[in-house]
Symmetry: C2
Subunit: 243 residues, 2 copies
DNA sequence: GGCCCGTGTCAATGCCATTGACATCGCCAT
DNA sequence: ATGGCGATGTCAATGGCATTGACACGGGCC
């Protein structure tokens, strides 16, 4: 009898539950293909185990989510590393662009993590050296250390906030998404030229942007980096005049 | 008997439920003082009525939330109007700054709305003329209409995303907030100068920024607007060379 | 061999949104 | 006036969710 039960268990789940296997399953559920919804019951089903078994490995859902964001950040860092040169670089703009996109893509691969993580942060050591490098790139470009650090924080908060914003929309059920999209299209279509000439003239472009969070993100990133360029020039000016 | 029941009802709630009275109560609950949590049971208690009575006025929670965001946007527009001159202005930077801050403050007065609204949009007519004006200001500054519209969208998405980011953190229970804060302080305190010289040098500033979302927002906004300035200069350059 | 701890199961609790069956009340048409 | 109908409010129930405590098993350590 026990043997049979053991057999069944084996059939249902590959091995005993571990932190790793649970995190894997959770990531699967958080991905768009996995349904993008994380709950203990779903997680239990995915693992072929009782939902509450997860509590033996994570104190509560918050701890689970923190671990998931940690993994996601790690993947972001890894993506960035793969796309960036090893040594220091003078192309600060490319560096920041790649970093922002990597973090964003890591989160967008599992929108539910982004949504659940909300504004939580893990202070994980995974990113520390990446941050140091990023600040170093900005410093080499001409920013004082403190201002370089400020710019790092700006870039990261900007990226995280924009990414959660997109992820939240992705996590809505398709019907709601469609309704929202439609609302905008209708609204811009109805604007009278005599009342709102400028909106009327740009209606097509605006509805296009509403369907396309990626393009909006790229635009914002580009504008933001133009702003960073201004800061760098300013800092260089100050330094030269001090010489 | 009926008279007595009527008396009791009157004592509990001021008048019959209306869309307006429900929205007021909901806004009260969404504010930080009101607990910052919106649920039908809380709403029922606040109204002195059965929680499910609300369903007679709103189809479901989503419709309620959409109405709340609509009100919030209206207040944002109103705040902006109060702080902006009536006629057209040449100070595009001040205009955009005031607009962004107004929207942000309207949402932060009721963080729960920001969190629940997620990336939902209402396409309400309340903001239309404000948007037209904003685009007009950018157009007068020298941007082609389409690009001015793009900049409007960038500013709004940036502001909304950053605001939800902050609101999400505000809506966490204080214990969790404290834990997150502490995590960062500890992390930056532990960094060795020899391993991470730049982070070590800017640790104080970075921990300061973590406690202060408003300052980060202002920094990002300033950088972003510097980027817009670049766009405007570029556009002016093109126009002049075309003359 | 006995004991304990790590792990998994099960049943129960309490919050949540939502629904359907009823009650009530005022208004309109007969 | 009255009969009924629609708008509004109440109540009980459902199903999903996170979380907890009591119990069961099994392997390693004494």
């Amino acid at each position: 009898m026990e043997a049979q039960v053991a057999e069944e268990s084996k059939a249902k789940r590959r091995a005993a539950l571990t932190r790793e296997s649970i995190l894997e399953a959770a990531l699967r559920l958080c991905s768009p293909e996995g349904g993008g919804q994380l709950s203990f019951s779903r997680l239990g089903k995915e693992l072929g185990a009782d939902p509450t078994a997860v509590y033996r490995h994570f104190r509560d859902k918050d701890e689970l989510i923190l671990a998931l964001t940690d993994l996601t950040i790690q993947e972001g860092v890894q993506l960035a590393r793969a796309a960036l040169p090893d040594g220091p670089s003078d192309d600060w703009r490319a560096w920041l662009t790649v970093t922002a996109r990597s973090v964003r893509n890591a989160y967008l691969a599992r929108p539910a993590v982004a949504v659940l993580a909300a504004a939580r942060t893990t202070a994980s050591p995974a990113e520390t050296s990446s941050v140091e490098e990023l600040i170093s790139v900005l410093h080499r470009a001409g920013l004082p250390v403190i201002e370089a650090a400020e710019c790092y924080r700006q870039l990261l908060d900007l990226t995280l906030a924009m990414t959660q914003y997109t992820a939240a929309f992705c996590s809505l059920d398709p019907a709601t998404q469609a309704k929202d999209d439609a609302a905008w299209a209708v609204k811009y279509g109805m604007l009278q030229e005599r009342d709102f000439p400028l909106l009327h003239a740009s209606a097509a472009r605006l509805t296009e942007l509403f369907r396309n969070d990626e393009e909006v993100f790229e635009l914002i990133l580009a504008t933001f980096l133009d702003g960073i360029a201004v800061r760098i020039e300013r800092a260089r000016g100050v330094r030269e005049s001090a010489d």
